[in-house]
């Protein structure tokens, strides 16, 4: 069994457990969070209870998922206003177990450079491998990272897309283990599709990756959207599971960043500043 978490930062965060729609009433489900075995269930009033032993944990229902916190929540869950827009399709598209730390999975999500090699023919294709200069800012007030002006050549950017485009991306990292991406919507130029990655840190080196897809798309079925997202996750999984070490090293000399990794460089710095310990290898002081 993995040791129980004693990182106050990770203990004070909201963590996703499961898609609300996937929870069967009256059947208790088990899962693990930060190394701790917990249970959750739904009663006939559709109330959701999360238990750590006999202790009732706080619950938030947001963005299609159940969230809980093992300690005392340090802040409310981040905002994702697009979720409430009436014409959007919100699909809880995937929950996939991956043997990797949550921060490694966040970096993968922020990373355009791997598209032609890992998501070949879908999110990228050789020879179009260039990652152009983009902006990364730390929004001090909202305490989140924002990467903008990201452009990448994509042969098929979404389930509803056909043909290659230069896709525009914006990334947010509003939570150490969550990231949201906005990209050009293939069916409506004025809007942005949203894909959010919510990582449940099962323990330091294992996650369940939950995806929310929120798109302007009247064509694709829920199944199409799920299959698309699960294909993408399925391609990332074997790569992530072969990253060494599994926890994210915060020592700048552990790995070799390039300009394309600007977002990851800022992310690692941000985690260091927060003093986050869980799922990372802290830099020697």
């Amino acid at each position: 069994m993995s040791p129980v978490c004693n990182d106050p930062v990770a203990l004070g965060l909201w963590h996703p457990l499961a898609a609300v729609e996937d929870i069967q009433p009256f059947t208790e489900q088990r899962t693990r969070l930060l190394g701790q075995a917990i249970r959750y269930s739904k009663n006939h009033e559709n109330d959701i209870t999360v238990l750590d032993g006999d202790r009732r944990l706080p619950v938030t229902l947001a963005y299609g998922y159940v969230w809980t916190c093992l300690g005392t929540p340090a802040a409310a869950l981040f905002d994702l206003p697009e979720y409430a827009e009436p014409d959007r399709r919100n699909v809880c598209a995937a929950t996939v177990g991956v043997r990797v730390s949550a921060p490694r999975a966040v970096e993968n999500f922020l990373d355009m450079g791997h598209f032609p090699f890992v998501h070949t023919g879908i999110l990228g294709v050789e020879p179009h491998t260039e990652v152009r200069e983009y902006r990364v800012d730390l929004d001090e007030q909202r305490d989140e990272i924002l990467a903008t002006e990201c452009i990448f050549y994509q042969p098929q950017a979404a389930a509803g897309a056909s043909g290659g485009i230069m896709a525009d991306y914006i990334y947010r990292v509003p939570h150490p283990y969550c990231s949201v991406l906005y990209k050009s919507c293939p069916t409506d130029e004025s809007r942005l599709d949203v894909i959010a990655l919510f990582l449940q840190p099962v323990d330091e080196e294992n996650v369940r990756a939950h995806a929310l897809v929120s798109v302007i798309d009247t064509q694709s079925s829920d199944l199409d959207i799920r299959l698309f997202q699960q294909t993408i996750f399925g391609q990332d999984k074997p790569i992530l599971e072969n990253q060494l070490p599994k926890r994210l090293p915060l020592d700048p000399r552990a790995e070799t960043p390039i300009r394309a990794d600007k977002a990851a460089i800022v992310y690692r710095r941000w985690l260091r500043a927060k003093g986050l310990q869980y799922g990372v290898i802290p830099a020697a002081a």
Binding site: F117, T129, Q243, L244
Partner: protein, 603 residues
Amino acid sequence: MIDLEAARYLWHPIAASSDLVPRHVFHAQILGREMALWRADDDNVNAWENRCLHRGVRLSIGINDGTELLCQYHGWRYANRTAGCTYIPAHPADAPARTICNNTYPAVEHYGLIWSGDSPEGPLPLLSTVDTSFVTPLRAVTINAASQQILLPLIQGYTLQLSDTGDGSLRYGADTPDAFTIILRATDTSSDRAIPAPDIAFFLQPVDAARTTIRGILCGMDEHNTDPQALNDLLRFHNRLLCNIRDRLEKAMADEPAPTPWIPIIPTVSENQASMPAINEDGRSASLRVRVASIESLSPSVKSFRFEPLSDLPEAQLPASQPGAHIDVHLPNGLVRQYSLINGPGQTDHYAIAVKLSLPSTGGSQALHEHLREGDLLATSAPRNNFTLRRDAEHTHLVAGGIGLTPLLAMARALHHMGRPYTLHHFVSQESELFFQDELQTLSGSYHAHIGLNPSQTAVRLADILASPAEHQHLYLCGPAPMLQCARTTAADLNWQDHTVHFEYFANPEERDDSSSFDVDLARSGLTLNVPAGQSLLAVLREHGVTLPSSCEQGACGTCRVAVLQGTPDHQDVYLSDAEKARGDCLMSCVSRARSNKLTLDL
């Protein structure tokens, strides 16, 4: 307990030679350390840290393309032998800093096995008492036990347990020259054995704290003169015996606690690799020593030279190069000349250049052609690349004049190797000046020789070749100045975008004017210096301890480029394109001066 510290300095077997089949990457482990093992097409065996320097992905899931190992995650390419990174697809216009180099471990092939280790010193285990003129590796068997727990059960299994197998006539005598080696010599009491009983050597490979792989070899048995059925039976017999030993041992040890794991130390990357690369090289450095291994005539006026490192030692290894790179060659007569490397991908055991004898020579080509002999020693710089090949084009056009083929040849080889479409045009004044034709014809790109055209015919032909610029196409030009000038003008007239036209001059054909005097502010070091008439900016910087790399020192190669923060440079170089010159945000410190009174430089 095994002495882990001592074991780090020993050679250990980590794979069978037959595990390294062509284009495969084998995952090996020794003393807890994972290695990616792969054989290049030139038969060189690479034993590397199993971790991409970029984001730590295992290289054992990478792709061995015969000359380079590609990481699966972002497609970084690492060269055979040196493990130097040769290409970073996310930044196709940049040459990777040559210090990006993966950790490598020594690897040798012997007794049908691959041997490596953490920092092995001294000889391989010596098998003096058995005949190793022929060796037949047994199937490797991995046991969940530390090597010292296996030694005795293995010997006992062979000396005592044999009777269980019903073959009472065979006996083995054991000998253990070191803690990881067991030699079993067979004594056979029956006169007519159906199955031969050769001597056996076992090597225990300490995989990690809890596992050991037994690698056995049968000694002195010529497989080709052994009945195949008997050989088959023999191999099965040993495999069964070893599995039996494994099963008994694992059962006996089932309740033992797991040992403390061995955590290998993975070296961190250097300071300058951990951040954005900075300028830190000194002047025209001749950091490498090479031997002239061979000289070949390619045409009446062109010779190729092959330079090899002075020894096989890792310290002597030549840094990997990329297509378009050049080296400074320090000639015996004191001159320094730049030559493009023509090496193809993965050709990392030498540097190859091709040089045209130009008469009257200013001393470079003549010194190489007439005075250099095989076996001579030379000093060269490490490769520098200011003429980077983008490999993200949908089609690449390579246009060479005469000896200007050299950098484009290296590019053609790389594009061919990656399966990227390209067209190569070679302009020469007579047929005898063509070289590397045979190879160019076998490469995948289309190859066109244009022979004996005068300047106006050349211009017409170039207009033809460059007629239809398209998106995602790039043009690379190298040749004599008049042809280059013509090709650039033609491309511009035909609406090739400035950033898609790349060129390299042999030398700066323009007259330089150094009669002006001006001041420079160095923004980072806070110095203000005066550059007097008759002296170059580069020379003044060096006098004041500001070291900058340089190579041609005449404004042709781009090595001494410096960023300009304020002021208007007077460029005088042929490296920058017109658009880059108009932007005025950088200059070549060897020839550029100032149009304004003062320049502020990012130094």
